[in-house]
Symmetry: D2
Subunit: 282 residues, 4 copies
């Protein structure tokens, strides 16, 4: 039966890359369905994403061996993903529900190509939302000490075979150790247009500055707060005569939209990281 793979490649820019990759796929019995490629001239890097399906005789192990040789010669970082395998995404939330609802509703509508096996929170408030959508809900307790609490948290992630963690307005900072173990596997939504307005109360900061647009940013969590690689962003024009509480209300719609968009891009294998920032390939 034919299978479908996604292949992601990053390497220094050089001549002959597209031909080499497409030839290797063809010679292994793969047929390219989609190819998207881009050269970042500022850092002389080459990015490529391709979907291919297999014909009879394709052997994934043989392909990986053949591609490893090619990758070695061109200095490629690469990843091969089985497109039929659904990623398992855990949602972490605290008290506000709009981002959690957004992901659950989109998932219910078939618009997120993943499983959501578990929801975790440091508060009991959103348990009823999880129940509405029949997803197991766990409450963890940061008060018991950061280390012990993170042991609990990571235990849940492992028990549920989680591939990716989404912080849907989760109001706890993860430790550097946990972040390191889940590098580029934790996506956070920040309610400000990063790199402006990092840290607490970004809408208050925005109001005090008198900006004319407010925004939200979804990014990979790194060891520096609110400075990991940005995946998606959007802004909303607001009359500067609106109050802070109106900024907060209006901002919710941007937050949920941006978080959903970031998750879709990730699940679509469109997010590449290089030199501390992302490059999105359609």
């Amino acid at each position: 039966m034919p299978k479908s793979y996604a292949l992601m490649v990053v390497c220094p820019d050089q001549s002959g890359l597209i031909a080499a990759v497409t030839r290797t796929i063809a010679e292994s019995g793969g047929n390219v369905l989609h190819l998207s490629q881009y050269t970042a001239v500022d850092i002389r890097a080459f990015f490529m994403k391709t979907h291919f399906e297999t014909s009879e005789g394709f052997d994934v192990g043989r392909f990986e061996a053949a591609f490893a040789v090619l990758a070695e010669s061109f200095g490629m970082e690469w990843r091969l993903l089985d497109r039929e395998r659904r990623r398992r995404v855990a949602i972490l939330a605290s008290k506000t529900s709009h981002c959690l609802y957004e992901l659950l509703l989109k998932h219910q509508d078939g618009e997120l190509d993943c499983d959501i096996p578990v929801i975790v929170s440091n508060h009991p408030d959103l348990a009823s939302v999880a129940t509405q959508f029949h997803v197991p809900f766990f409450q963890v307790d940061p008060e018991k000490g950061k280390a012990a609490y993170e042991v609990d948290l990571e235990g849940i992630l492992k028990d549920y075979g989680v591939d990716l963690v989404v912080l849907a307005r989760y109001m706890q900072v993860l430790s550097g150790e946990l972040v390191a173990r889940w590098r580029e596997k934790v996506i956070n939504i920040h309610h400000g247009f990063l790199p402006a307005f990092q840290g607490a109360k970004p809408y208050h900061q925005a109001w005090a500055k008198g900006v004319k647009m407010i925004g939200a940013t979804a990014h990979f969590v790194s060891d520096v707060l609110d400075q990991g690689p940005i995946i998606a962003q959007d802004v909303l024009r607001v009359a500067d005569t609106r109050s802070v509480s109106e900024f907060i209300r209006l901002g919710k719609d941007v937050e949920r939209k941006v978080l959903y968009e970031a998750l879709r891009l990730y699940l679509d294998n469109s997010v590449f990281v290089r030199e501390g920032r992302t490059f999105i390939l359609p």
Copy 2:
């Protein structure tokens, strides 16, 4: 003959403000044509802008005296502007022409209600643009020493009776003394979405961060670089796979648009400053 005035008022919020102002205008022989008002609940401040025309018997001196009494009792800052008097705006530019052209073309099309009596630059490159539009052009020389150069600059502004200075990509930092003398009378365009990306090479900064939108900000110049009150802002969604030089090219259109918009708002008496930021009243 009837005259038309704009009245701008800011004060602590309190009961009876709208009635008091409209009554005072009516009792002086003014007829309110337009009224726009807003209360900033976060700082308990009241803002009001009104246009009124005069009937026979209106005396501006008597009105100002009557209004001063009212203003005193409510703690108002206020300004009365003759709507027929066109402001005189000097444009300062360096080498890039897109913002200068924008203002001159909009002015030529009758879309900027001001005079542009003079253009000043620290380079000769844009002299021909000034000539195309028949505006006197002066070249000043920062190399001769900041103090001496600013004496020249301010001399030109005075000779031409300038009310407002617009920095249309003028690549010289004004001294604190000059800025203090022209407080809220110098508008700058910054090619970044402030408060992010202050200082030099904002598009390079934006690219390195991997942001998904680039922006521009028009603001009053204050004594701290790129931190004066923001008047207008806009952003443009850009594929993060674009190069820095494409950011620069695409950003030009946002810059010229935002600068033009800020100047229009100023000329329309819509820009109020309070607590270090602006409030825009339509």
Copy 3:
């Protein structure tokens, strides 16, 4: 105890309107809290919205009598609304849930200043959503004949004391008689950027035309399909290489946003109708 009223006024433009209205309010013992006003020069019409609170001695009957005299002399249409009285809004939906969820979630978050006493549908599919939010759900049956079905429908609206009907992707056309009885009291969301793409399958129409942006429109229902006065609109830039089914998926977010926005504007007494179109006053 002080009460708060909203007063909406439309009339031919003429001199002295703002003064006359504010004076009448003041003389009746009202204090203007907010005033927003606008003159449509193209049709010489004047629009005004004001919020005022009452002091002791204010009598609403006396105010209405006094204002009626004023209104007569200026040719005003006007409406006085008690700002404490929450409007009762019925939601009608069919099978797709995104607009229904949006209104219920926003209401749950305290962002819609109304009651939602009842949900009606011509299908059973969304009953569980209504139940999640503890709102009574009625299924009506258009198959029994238009007239009989509309008797059922209007009976429900009356039983629940409904002031406004929101069609949240309700796939039944209302009869001219029903629309006439509920003039400017039924808001519909259309999944196209009206006046383009009226009628069925607007996303298919948009795709076939190769437009670069898709949109949604909330409007009052009138007797001509998809041509009632437009209340709110928005668009989304889409790559024209997206499929129709992606247009449909992406469009949902614009639809729910625009419908929510229209309902908020209505509840905030910001929607004026004149010459077959709306004028929105903040």
Copy 4:
């Protein structure tokens, strides 16, 4: 010396297309620099754009012969363009200058990769603009009869070796015969968000409808007025309380932006036409 080509391909979707094209280029001595490809599932069409550079031994005639064989077997329409050859673009304008200025300024800034050898108008008003930018200006006279006037017009286009005609607010309808001869070689800017507001006075139409956004559309001219394939579009949110004349003023900025964008896309070989609409490939 290496040369650079763009290859544009459209055909029915089928297996093996990407491999076949890239292999043919490689075997002819071409090295693919950029590849962008897309399948329109709704009409089962495949679109592809690729840039490649040549190594020694590449012969363009031999490549075309080899590719013709491939194209025949897959049912491809295709075009090969020499990327060093600058297209020659004529601008036609009438009285309003904003679109003409935009193209000339962008060209002067090196942002339009074409030559602009001639400007033609049915009025004398813009001659001085042409002169400012040192471009020959011709005035044609529709009053002398449509046929005779179009002979003059087409004569100028031929004398100047024009490849593409841009109607930058040119207020004359071209005859069906002329349009047929210049199929997909005439780009027009319409000051409305097509397909809404076709024909005359689109801003007046938009105002009467009470739309909340105004737009502009650049499209290929076809034999049905304002209905040719759309290349680029954009909209601007406008307060519906603005007057028609303000719509006209504000709309100018959208018009010039969209026309410039369409011309860039065309010059970048990104515009494909299939089934009466365009598909834009980056």
